[in-house]
Symmetry: C2
Subunit: 351 residues, 2 copies
């Protein structure tokens, strides 16, 4: 197979972890006789510094021309505490999601047997957890009208959803539930928000098309609790953009494998793969970041190209590294640790 992959390293540890995913993907390509051409492009603070724009048109063109996008991380602290900054790296991310039509973010949370004791949760709480949160990614309060009034003393944001937006996300949720254990949980705040009531109403109306799927409806605050108490009671969950942002991050740490969780964003045009962790600026340039989430994101990419063996080869080598203790310092527990680049080399060699 010939693949053209857009490579958006972004900020902070982004470039370092992306490098390892490239090494591993190239090793897979070599072994299975594929040809990958990588098309690097600027994004985030790095793009602002270079061309004044966090998601430049050239980058968009590169993504549109590519078969898929591999993404690192975005965000830089120099923008965070400056509420008046006119251009922010995150705007690039949001623009990219919207322009590429990436309306669904697929975030699995699962456990690695060898890492289960790293979880902040007790073993019996987390064992067997294998859930997927499908987060709506191009609507809601992220993209609604916002602004200031009263000379800047009043600020507002608008959360808007259309039935069609909810349907296309929910459809993916139902399909995913059908391919797994046929359980779907719709997370909303329908006891307060009108947009949530539209979510609930829309999903309820779709239930008849998937008679085998058992659908439950839970409030976001209750889910924030139960995710900590009984994460293994969940399977496929669907939710709107902001709730998804909060819950996927919460879910990501319960497995003890925060640095390891991959994600895919899918939609109308291309697909994008990225680690769920952030740009972790404190670690940038130190060659200490854990690249496994990005490497596993590449595995999701191969899987979606229907290259199942290739995807499995990546997951196997990741498991191997974990069980043999070939890990970065975050997982080393005072034992021997490997540099980001060393781990990437090891993984590539062992493919």
């Amino acid at each position: 197979m010939k693949l053209n992959i857009a490579l958006l390293a972004g900020d902070g540890i982004g470039p370092e972890v992306i490098d390892q995913a490239v090494k591993v993907s190239n090793a897979v390509a070599k072994k299975y006789n594929h040809e990958i051409s990588w098309s690097p492009a600027l994004t985030g603070a790095a793009a602002i510094d270079a061309v004044g724009e966090p998601y430049p048109d050239e980058t968009h063109a590169v993504c549109e021309a590519a078969d898929a996008v591999l993404f690192g991380a975005i965000g830089h602290p120099k923008f965070d505490n400056d509420p008046s900054a006119k251009v922010r790296p995150e705007q690039g991310l949001l623009k990219m999601r919207q322009k590429l039509g990436l309306f669904a973010n697929v975030r699995p949370t699962f456990t690695f047997p060898s890492l289960i004791d790293k979880s902040p949760l007790k073993r019996e709480r987390i064992e067997g957890t294998d859930l997927i949160i499908l987060r709506e990614l191009t609507g809601g309060i992220y993209f609604g009208k916002r602004g200031r009034e009263d000379n800047g003393d009043t600020a507002y944001d608008t959360c808007t959803y259309t039935r069609a937006e909810i349907q296309r996300l929910a459809k993916k949720g139902f399909e995913m539930a059908m391919s797994r254990s046929k359980k779907l949980c719709c997370v909303d705040k329908a006891n307060v928000l009108e947009s949530s009531r539209l979510w609930r109403e829309t999903v309820q109306a779709m239930e008849k098309d998937y008679p085998e799927v058992t659908v439950t409806y839970e409030f976001v605050d209750a889910v924030a609790m139960r995710l900590v108490q009984w994460p293994n009671s969940y399977d496929v969950m669907i939710t709107e953009n902001l709730f998804g942002d909060i819950l996927t991050d919460e879910a990501s740490v319960i497995s003890g494998s925060m640095g390891l969780m991959p994600s895919a964003s899918v939609g109308t045009k291309t697909k994008l793969y990225e680690p769920i962790h952030g740009s972790y600026p404190q670690a940038a340039g130190k060659d200490i970041a854990n690249p496994l989430a990005t490497v596993l994101s590449a595995a999701m990419m191969f899987e979606d190209f229907n290259l199942k063996e290739e995807a499995q080869a990546i997951r196997d080598v990741v498991n191997k590294s974990l069980s043999e203790g070939v890990v970065t310092e975050d997982l080393a527990e005072g034992g021997k640790s490997y540099k980001t680049s060393e781990l990437g080399d090891w993984l590539a060699k062992n493919i």
Copy 2:
């Protein structure tokens, strides 16, 4: 002291847990020579059933005339899955918060040494946790303009904040930080939301008035993670209404004492005290609910009347019940358990 307390039992297990708080408060009043007159009033689904309104005017009058309000829980499942219901119990709660000017919800999360092993988190993660979330309670997306367009196919909600609303909440946060360890964390989503940028800007401008307080700013998604990882790294946190809803519920379960966490809502007029748990309809009428959160809410009430010894007497008897295993079935671990009413009697007797 003569106290007139409005008693809003509400729905589900509300009436049962409220009863025990009344018993314990009466025992305290007797011991310390106070006189409490209780003024019961209707709220929630119970009020809808009785008078068609979840927060009737008569109830508001009772609350306004009272020195404080003791509240049970609100909500009934028959309304949750009916997005078209015109009157909902929760509307009563929101109306009450707004009409009573309860702009700050104070929710502590702490651990009981005897319950620490009930936490879903490992002991070393949760030990020493003692944090307070101050949630803004009468603004934001809970009270903004909402509605439908396009024949019902589009729904929207608006999140609005004014500088003044943020200042009065933040002021309480700074003051609380001064009375504790002088650490304040402002939780927002300033990398996306304009209202969050106003929060951050407003709190930043107040820092100079509290030079001893160390203020940090964190994104809500990051906090949702860190609350599970290192809850004991937090002290006083301030946040807007919806984020507060999600984070306080998340925080409530990490201590393993979900049924035990009290809360106070304070503001411009009266103060209201309530357990943070919900109406738990499955348990209603069975005399099995854990009343301790409501009892501890009564302790917060005595504390705020500057009756410190009285408050401590309640907390002491709660600790005594826990360490002697006089507990409801949720905490009994297969051992002997007490009914809700039996526990209330025991507590009152041991004051």
